[in-house]
């Protein structure tokens, strides 16, 4: 098992490398770039803008810029004699803006050393800190929608398989697509209007918990009503996927020899379904965990916006619309890591519950 995990992590390295290249390429293709995003005020003169560009290093060759992001620039331009003025430079000029003075020593350590840089917004704080304080909320929503998706999706899938071709099967077939055919922001808004204070008044209309002055939100089981609607909106995708998947899987299993054998032995229909069929049919569900991570993250981008949920999804949207380059790049890298972990976890789960599969 350890061997397998290590190997999979090693395999993830080229993938992450590819993502870093992809993210960087998209950023480079952007008109204006970070300089335009940082110098927003009309009172900034073209000279000031040019100086900032030199400082940020956006005039350096692209590979150098990529290296800086990856490995930092504290080794590209530094102070070797301790007088606080940089005197040595590799790859980049000592005096980038051409004013005759060397630029200050590089301070960035690069993403490989955990330095994703400072956000352009959020008080110029470290991007990693900004992301970490948002993770909890998205994690909460993700787990909740996964649980809801599984607890509704699996029984529905089983019943549909048992009643194959019957009314219930057709009904679920339609319901599975009906909720997913609505734009999710629209579904969210409609639910909010129906169940919120201006409608039936049954549920709160957003945020993670009620007004708390000091001390943070209470534990989640004391504020389930706040989780209800956003979870539902994200979970409809899961319910549809799991129920269809479960139905197909169960039908597949039911055609296999050991089920026929069991039947031949004279076990009752229901016994066969639940004793033998269900257990084996559940196994492939584990493979859905990886895609679920991507689903939750994309779903969160919209749902968190509608329900004022303080998670990563909203951070993604706001950093993209604000052109907060360091945050966008970091968030995409984090999303990729989360997805890769999701796939890894689902492979491990798969192996743990299915004796036929051995990890190599």
């Amino acid at each position: 098992m350890t061997k397998f995990v290590v190997r999979r992590i090693l395999q993830a390295i080229p993938t992450l490398f590819g993502i870093s290249l992809l993210v960087y390429a998209i950023m480079l293709a952007t008109p204006g770039g970070p300089v335009a995003a940082l110098t927003f005020s009309p009172t900034v003169t073209p000279q000031e803008r040019a100086a900032l560009a030199a400082q940020l290093g956006v005039n350096d060759p692209y590979p150098v810029q990529y290296l800086r992001w990856l490995l930092g620039d504290d080794w590209m331009r530094f102070d070797s004699d301790g007088d606080g003025i940089s005197d040595t430079a590799y790859l980049i000029p000592l005096d980038a803006d051409g004013d005759g003075e060397p630029e200050p020593p590089g301070r960035r350590r690069g993403i490989l050393r955990g330095d994703f840089g400072s956000s352009f917004f959020h008080g110029k704080r470290h991007v990693v800190d900004v992301i970490f304080e948002r993770l909890g909320a998205t994690f909460e929503l993700g787990i909740a929608s996964l649980v809801v998706g599984l607890t509704i999706g699996i029984p529905v899938g089983v019943l549909a398989a048992v009643n194959r071709g019957g009314y219930f099967d057709n009904f679920t077939r339609v319901m599975a697509v009906v909720f997913n055919a609505l734009p999710s922001f629209w579904l969210g808004l409609l639910l909010l209007l129906v169940f919120g204070g201006t409608g039936l008044g049954l549920l709160p209309m957003g945020n993670r918990c009620g007004i708390v002055l000091v001390g943070g939100c209470p534990p989640f089981y004391e504020r389930l009503e706040y989780l209800f609607l956003p979870t539902f909106v994200i979970a409809v995708g899961g319910v549809a996927a799991y129920s269809r998947f479960m139905r197909a899987s169960l039908l597949d299993v039911s055609g296999q020899d050991y089920i026929r054998t069991a039947r031949a032995k004279g076990l009752s229909g229901r016994m066969v379904w639940f004793r033998h069929g269900l257990r084996n049919a559940l196994i492939p569900i584990a493979t859905l965990l990886g895609p679920t991570v991507t689903g939750v993250l994309s779903g969160a981008a919209i749902t968190e916006q509608v329900f004022s949920w303080p998670g990563v999804g909203r951070l993604v949207v706001s950093s993209i619309t604000q052109k907060d380059y360091p945050t966008v790049m970091a968030v995409v890298m984090f999303a990729a890591i989360a997805t890769i972990l999701g796939y890894l976890l689902s492979d491990m789960l798969y192996a743990l519950i299915d004796p036929r599969i051995r990890l190599r």
Partner: protein, 279 residues
């Protein structure tokens, strides 16, 4: 194949879906004719904003600026359906080509393709599209290109897997033995056998893309007005609940019914092509 077709034609739900989709497409792309009949267009501004449906001269009423709602919906339909269809088609062409070549040739090339697909799949596609839409000015063309160039991985993976399996099958081996070129084998022997994947994916992808377009509009980075799409009409209409509920209903309903039909169609195709389905 013929069995599948027959089965598909007998699926009433799928046939109804096709009917609805054709009807919507005809309406949207026949907008000039309809406008001529109703004597309106999507640009001219009537004296009254928020006219209710069935007002004289405006079958579905007018919008916040006083433009004919039906004409706007039809124009938006052209854009939304085109984005959905063209983007899905583009990603399909890319996906099928790459999947075929990777699966058929295998080896180093296949490894590279798999690496590339894994890489792209590790980031939620929605984030990539969001970045591209926000950083480059969003319009119908950039959206089609972005969705097309980044949305092909799923298809490619399926096609590659299928090709992998097919290339060891007898008819391919015999085609090789008689000296058919690789290209020929791919096109005349392997591709036709992938028709089911292609059709199913096309239907589902168009639906997904129409939803993505609406989601991007909601986040403010979709196709921008005055160019109308169903997505941005729905987005902007959400503040008009009290002024003109019809402005909220129609774009939402059209997206819903279109996507629903596409999903039902995809489902129907899958059932029809599924060899395990008992007739």
């Amino acid at each position: 194949m013929q069995l599948a077709l027959r089965r598909f034609l007998r699926d009433r739900l799928s046939m109804a879906a096709i009917g609805v989709l054709l009807f919507l497409a005809l309406l949207s792309f026949g907008a000039p004719i309809i406008n001529a009949l109703t004597n309106t267009n999507s640009r001219s501004i009537a004296a009254d904003s928020f006219l209710p449906p069935f007002s004289p001269g405006h079958i579905l009423g007018t919008d916040d600026l006083g433009r004919d709602h039906l004409a706007r919906l039809l124009e938006a339909g052209q854009v939304s359906l085109s984005i959905g269809f063209l983007a899905a088609l583009l990603s399909l062409v890319i996906g099928v080509t790459i999947g075929l070549i990777a699966g058929f040739i295998g080896g180093r090339l296949d490894d590279t393709v798999i690496w590339f697909i894994t890489t792209l799949n590790s980031v939620p596609l929605f984030f990539i599209i969001l970045i591209i839409a926000a950083f480059l000015s969003p319009n119908a063309t950039t959206l089609i290109l972005a969705l097309g160039f980044f949305g092909w991985t799923g298809t490619a993976r399926l096609v590659r897997g299928e090709t992998f399996a097919l290339r060891e099958r007898e008819f391919v081996i015999s085609a090789r033995a008689i000296g058919s070129s690789r290209l020929r084998i791919m096109y005349s022997h392997i591709l036709p056998n992938q028709l089911s994947i292609i059709l199913i994916n096309l239907a589902i992808d168009i639906g997904i893309i129409i939803l993505v377009e609406a989601a991007l509009s909601f986040l403010g980075v979709g196709v921008q007005p005055p160019q109308a799409t169903w997505g941005n009409m729905l987005t902007f209409s959400r503040s008009f609940f009290s002024h003109g509920p019809h402005l909220v209903f129609w774009p939402g309903f059209l997206i819903f019914i279109t996507v629903l039909c596409l999903y039902v169609l995809g489902d129907g195709l899958r059932d029809a092509f599924d060899p395990t389905t008992i007739d």
